[in-house]
């Protein structure tokens, strides 16, 4: 940690006016942020909730009757989340175990951690281009939910990796030594001791990843397509192989491309509800983590 190099000669003389002004600014600013967030939430909910009817949530749009519904995009969103996690969780957890339990070379560890850092810093629009060029064109998956799944898998991988790593770090060395000392093989020790102990970290990562995927729009617009007019049809593979948009992409379409603010706010309210739920879950998991951390 750096030393307090910034300490200048501290003037003992009190500058009351300046102090008060600074206090005022700090309180005003913090109150401002508080009011702003509350205003956003209330604004979205009051404009959005009237649109959120049971039919809105459970039907597909009907362009003949001119009714809207978000069921297909809801399903697309769930597909993307479920299948991305299905791939990202094992790889993320495995990577974290490698980093924490196996890696001996500092260089390699640093390289993997740097790569994970880079992945989490890359903006989603670039994931979109990469996903399009690599998955849609090169692997010939076309613009499809499957291409969306694979693109988002890479996007959430570093999240799972990091939270799992942090959970693994909280497992005391003595546990490991105890298990190994009793003659357990390393993989056995990982399976029976570390994996259960890191479950909460994985869970935290899963929740954060869901948040990220629910919010995602730019990348999916390019790789998974921008429409959710009807339910995906056919076998599961057919469904994943066809294009489709998630809630956030549909929100962009309704708000901007279709200019239907009523529906857009309806979707925004649904998204806000999901985000708030995820935030509460994160808090719960974090509390459990700290409670059992030592």
């Amino acid at each position: 940690m750096s030393e307090p190099a910034g300490i200048g000669p501290i003037t003992v003389k009190k500058r009351r006016g300046g102090e008060t002004a600074l206090y005022g600014l700090i309180y005003l600013l913090s109150a401002g942020i508080l009011v702003m967030v509350l205003y956003f939430v209330i604004y979205i909910l009051t404009r959005g909730i009237p649109a959120v009817t049971p039919a809105f949530l459970t039907t597909a749009p009907n362009p003949i009757e001119k009714t809207v519904g978000i069921f297909p995009s809801l399903v697309n969103t769930l597909y993307i989340i479920f299948f991305s996690l299905l791939i990202a969780v094992p790889f993320g957890v495995g990577g974290a175990i490698y980093l924490n339990e196996y890696a001996k070379h500092r260089r390699l560890t640093a390289l993997i951690e740097f790569a994970a850092g880079v992945l989490s810093g890359i903006p989603s629009i670039l994931y979109g281009i990469f996903g399009y060029v690599f998955f849609c064109l090169l692997l010939d998956l076309k613009v499809s939910l499957l291409a969306g799944v694979l693109t988002l898998t890479i996007m959430v991988l570093p999240i799972i990796l990091r939270t799992t790593q942090e959970a693994l770090r909280t497992v005391p060395v003595s546990y490991r030594e105890g298990a190994l000392g009793l003659g357990a093989a390393k993989w056995h020790m990982i399976r029976t001791l570390l994996l259960p102990c890191s479950l909460k970290g994985v869970l935290a990562g899963v929740i954060l990843s869901i948040g990220r995927m629910v919010s995602e729009s730019a990348a999916l617009l390019l790789v998974a397509g921008g429409s959710a007019m009807y339910m995906p049809a056919g076998s599961l593979f057919d469904q994943l192989a066809s294009s489709g948009s998630t809630l956030s992409v549909e929100l962009y379409r309704y708000a901007y491309s279709r200019g239907d603010n009523e529906t857009a706010f309806g979707i925004a309210a649904v998204l806000l509800f999901i985000v708030i739920t995820l935030n509460i879950l994160t808090r719960l998991v974090a509390r459990r983590l700290t409670a059992t951390g030592h």
């Binding site: 049971p54 039919a55 459970t58 039907t59 597909a60 749009p61 009907n62 362009p63 003949i64 009757e65 519904g69 069921f71 809801l74 399903v75 769930l78 597909y79 989340i81 479920f82 076309k142 613009v143 259960p196 479950l199 909460k200 869970l203 899963v206 397509g225 921008g226 429409s227 007019m229 009807y230 339910m231 995906p232 049809a233 056919g234 076998s235 599961l236 057919d238 469904q239 066809s242 294009s243 708000a255 901007y256 491309s257 279709r258 200019g259 239907d260 603010n261 879950l281 719960l284 998991v285 459990r288 409670a291 059992t292």
Partner: protein, 312 residues
């Protein structure tokens, strides 16, 4: 520790269960064979096809099946979604997949065979780069010049529009409107609407580029939204999507846009919508049925219902 782990495990299980049931529900609901009534949560998703719309009397006897891959223009979105919806309601075994990625991709991907049917809102280029396709026009679309509802401008001529879009005319006063600077809204380069509009009024020739500071939006609806939210804006968009509670369609050369003036030929800003197929390639029965449907009485009625001019 045990207890909290238990709670967390339960949470995880719940999440997983939710995910699975959601997926399960769609799995049960989506295979489209006639027994569509067994969708677990509620039947609305499957109901509309079942309880009939006017067009189910002429459904052919042999049931069609399969997926028809189509894609292209976003300008045709509204009418195409309605056409596909009705067609799928009439032929429950068929899925018509419609990727909205613009006329350019629609043309390219139909040539390459990725799409059986492409959608285009512009004519095929005659420079050889887009050979090998048949373009079947199925609707005529008016291009409406739209202004904010508060705007009092009553008519715009070709030259006035050209002046506005090149930036030579910058105040509404100069074209019979209020004293306010004009906010020019245009579509992104490559858009079918933009190229048709530019072609007709003589814009985007070497000496008439679109003003560099014009706001650019990427879809028909975005033009409407931008213009509706901005008192000084002008835009152009597909007539089929004009909502007159949001924007004002300004008469062009003294003629107001309507299906009548489009039909009579008095309104001059218009273009055609096309289905594209590969020249000489036989369509699958389902794709052929879809093409016939679009050009048939029911399809053309839906075309007319969406403020487009039927071609037949």
């Amino acid at each position: 520790m045990k207890k909290t782990t238990g709670i967390l495990l339960a949470l995880l299980a719940l999440t997983a269960a939710l995910l699975f049931t959601a997926c399960g529900a769609t799995d049960a609901g989506t295979p489209t064979p006639p027994a569509a009534a067994d969708v677990p949560p509620s039947s609305p998703p499957a109901a509309p096809p079942a309880d009939g719309t006017p067009a189910e009397d002429d459904t052919p006897a042999p049931p069609l099946s399969g997926v028809v891959k189509t894609g292209g223009s976003t300008s045709v979105e509204t009418v195409m979604n309605a056409l596909i919806f009705q067609f799928q309601a009439d032929n429950t075994g068929v899925t018509v997949d419609y990727e909205m990625n613009g006329s350019g991709d629609g043309i390219k991907n139909t040539i390459s065979g990725l799409y059986e049917i492409g959608h285009s809102s512009r004519e095929l280029k005659s420079d050889g780069s887009e050979d090998g396709l048949d373009a079947i026009a199925y609707a005529i679309d008016g291009i409406a010049v739209v202004a904010n509802l508060e705007n009092t401008v009553s008519d715009l001529t070709k030259d006035q529009l050209l002046g506005i879009y090149t930036g030579a005319v910058s105040n509404w006063q100069d074209v019979g409107g209020p004293d306010a600077p004009i906010t020019v809204v245009t579509r992104e380069p490559g858009s079918g609407t933009r190229s048709a509009f530019a072609e007709i009024i003589g814009l985007e020739k070497d000496d008439t580029p679109i003003a560099a500071d014009a706001s650019v939006v990427d879809s028909t609806g975005a033009v409407q939204t931008t213009v509706s939210q901005n008192p000084n804006a002008i835009g152009y968009m597909s007539f089929s999507d004009v909502d007159d509670t949001k924007v004002n369609a300004v008469p062009y050369e003294g003629v107001a846009i309507s299906t009548d003036t489009l039909k009579s030929g008095d309104y001059l800003l218009k273009r055609e919508f096309y289905l594209l197929t590969r020249t000489g390639a036989a369509l699958s029965p389902a794709a052929q049925a879809f093409t016939d449907f679009v050009l048939g009485a029911d399809g053309q009625r839906i075309v007319a219902d969406n403020k487009l001019l039927p071609i037949r």
